[in-house]
């Protein structure tokens, strides 16, 4: 089987949300028939980037099994996880794939001590036999993220800083020795002065412990900094996917170009020169025929408005644009 040495295969994945009841609701295609895969042998940080509402979080949640795809399949180490039924299989899967969430203050119940989640994870996944062993394991993972049990013990979330909490969140995810972390905007709420230490942590995890990471972000600078490959999403589609250097330094898709140009450089010598145009009212691009970016695309031709472009492999990457056919 071709999926044999793949860590994760996402194929033809679609999620349609119906807002407001089955009869009267409005359809919203959050993720539209997307596919990609990750190697098992070679751990990597795979970034899914895009603006709000592009479907990146929906995609991540489907991979985590929190929401059910409308159609399509997700294979984790050859096993279709959309078909998981039994509690044991679910636990087995969660042992391998763990999430990191966006808001560290929301990751833990504000009315509970944070260590309770660490203990629960250690015990529920059978990593340890009893509470004292659990504490050994917890100390181990906390040290991995640069904390110690003393800093965390008996603390409520509000007594820790955002950076510390995000580390605890990562430590919790590591207790089960997972092979894949799915991190949804893990540093967007972390203070600037400690942001990079959290980002570096992901890098370390990959390099030293062989953990692969799916990094969901809108922050292209950190995406460039840590990732190996990147997928740029626009309105439910991955419009460009490839090695991060290729995609970000030499973007092919017009949307990727626009996105990268819009990122402000933290250098007063590299100020923006020309102005960009913004669309006045948000067009209903989700329901649109053809390429969803065509309304905003400066290079759009007639066919772009009518025919949905196919994915083409150009210069080491997949691009979803008529220009390269």
């Amino acid at each position: 089987m071709k999926n044999n040495n793949k860590l994760l295969v996402v194929s033809d994945l679609t999620k349609v949300f119906i807002i407001g009841g089955r009869f009267l609701g409005v359809k919203l295609v959050a993720v539209n028939r997307e596919s990609f895969d990750m190697e098992e042998e070679k751990p990597e940080i795979f970034t899914i980037a895009g603006e709000s509402g592009c479907g990146k979080t929906t995609l991540a949640r489907m991979i985590l099994g929190i929401i059910e795809p409308t159609s399509g399949k997700i294979f984790y180490k050859g096993k279709d996880i959309t078909k998981i039924q039994s509690k044991e299989d679910r636990l087995d899967f969660m042992r391998e794939v763990q999430p990191i969430f966006q808001n560290p203050f929301e990751t833990f119940n504000p009315l509970k001590r944070v260590e309770s989640y660490l203990i629960e994870t250690a015990i529920n996944f059978g990593a340890v036999k009893n509470r004292s062993e659990a504490f050994d394991r917890i100390e181990e993972v906390l040290q991995l993220v640069g904390l110690s049990i003393k800093e965390v013990e008996k603390r409520y979330p509000h007594e820790l800083s955002g950076g510390q909490l995000q580390r605890v969140s990562i430590a919790r995810a590591l207790i089960t020795n997972p092979s894949l972390l799915v991190a949804d905007e893990p540093v967007s709420m972390v203070d600037a002065s400690i942001k990079m230490s959290v980002v570096n942590l992901f890098k370390d995890l990959k390099e030293k412990y062989g953990v692969s990471v799916i990094y969901i972000t809108h922050d292209l600078a950190t995406a460039y900094y840590i990732s190996d490959r990147i997928a740029i999403m626009y309105r439910g589609n991955i419009v460009e996917l490839g090695p991060v250097e290729k995609v970000m330094l030499n973007p092919l898709h017009p949307y990727t170009k626009l996105l990268i140009e819009a990122v402000p450089e933290p250098d007063p010598d590299l100020k923006w020169k020309e102005e960009i145009k913004l669309s006045a009212m948000e067009a209903k691009e989700f329901a649109k025929l053809g390429c969803k970016f065509s309304e905003r695309c400066l290079e759009a031709k007639e066919r772009c408005h009518e025919i949905t472009p196919e994915k083409i492999f150009v210069d080491d990457r997949w691009v979803m644009c008529h220009k390269y056919k």
């Binding site: 089955r22 929190i66 509690k87 969660m94 929301e106 119940n109 509970k112 629960e120 529920n124």
Partner: protein
């Protein structure tokens, strides 16, 4: 627990008032167990006596001592309210939990029934039901039929709380910590639901006592059992006010006002105190002061 009560008592005037009055009323209702008169029997004392040392609140036209009678009435009214609250909160919480956690068509079906009961005018239907059951009405039966119209409010609110909790990130953290649904509900969500249940419990008691009083006016209650409502009913039947036996009608009215007021103030102050947001604020403040 005691510390919390002390804090509330000290810093919240509404609580202090409500709690004191409720304690007094509870004391009165306990007194009923030591009542020298059987509340169901008539003509035990001379009729229509104004308040005096022997009969603190006077006597009524049925030959009953009003003070001892009202202690029974308070006890029975509170009992009725609590019973209704227990029944309707159990149903409401159950329906809300099921709708919130199951979602989908189960949720839609349950909620449209629920919402219909909310919009439905309750009094006419309650009147219809109690007219039908007129001869068999007891405290328990009244509590059951009152519950028919008080569960939906709770059901709706529990569902709303559950829906918002389900989408919060810590619920996912609990899920990925390998906690099952039941454990998540009990350990993660209950602290958010309980304050609401407490407040709603008191509010339902309030509503039920009010409703029973209203039904009793129409003569649709367990008329032999003294409650605040039936006391007023009998006073009206004998036209106490027109005949100048003001102590007969005034006693239950004043008791009712104090009972409703204190229950309401208790529910407001408790729900404010237990609200997770205030609770968090308090936790933060304590951290500073220590």
């Amino acid at each position: 627990m005691f510390v919390i009560l002390k804090d509330l008592f000290k810093y919240d005037k509404r609580f202090a008032f409500g709690f004191s009055v409720i304690l007094i009323l509870l004391f009165l209702s306990i007194l009923s167990f030591f009542s020298p008169y059987n509340p169901v029997l008539w003509s035990l004392v001379p009729k229509n006596l104004p308040p005096s040392l022997k009969h603190i609140l006077g006597t009524n036209s049925m030959g009953q001592d009003i003070f001892w009678n009202i202690t029974h009435a308070i006890k029975n009214s509170i009992l009725l309210g609590s019973l209704t609250a227990v029944i309707s909160i159990t149903i409401g919480t159950f329906v809300g939990l099921v709708a919130g956690y199951r979602g989908g068509s189960v949720d839609r079906a349950l909620m449209s029934i629920n919402d219909s009961f909310i919009v439905l005018p309750s009094l006419p239907i309650l009147i219809l039901l109690s007219t039908m059951l007129k001869e068999r009405l007891t405290i328990a039966v009244i509590a059951v039929i009152l519950s028919l119209f008080s569960w939906p409010w709770g059901g709706r609110q529990v569902r709303a709380i559950v829906l918002s909790l389900r989408e919060r990130e810590f619920t996912y953290t609990a899920f990925f910590s390998g906690m099952g649904t039941l454990k998540t509900v009990l350990k993660e969500h209950l602290p958010f639901v309980i304050p609401w249940v407490m407040a709603n419990f008191i509010n339902t008691i309030l509503w039920a006592i009010g409703m029973e009083t209203t039904l009793a006016i129409f003569g649709l209650s367990s008329l032999e059992t003294p409650t605040i409502g039936t006391t007023i009913y009998w006073a009206n039947q004998y036209q106490a006010l027109l005949r100048g036996i003001w102590w007969w009608i005034l006693t239950p009215v004043i008791i009712a006002v104090f009972l409703f007021l204190s229950l309401y103030l208790l529910s407001v102050s408790i729900s404010e105190f237990l609200d997770p947001r205030t609770r968090l604020q308090r936790m933060r403040m304590e951290e500073v002061s220590t």
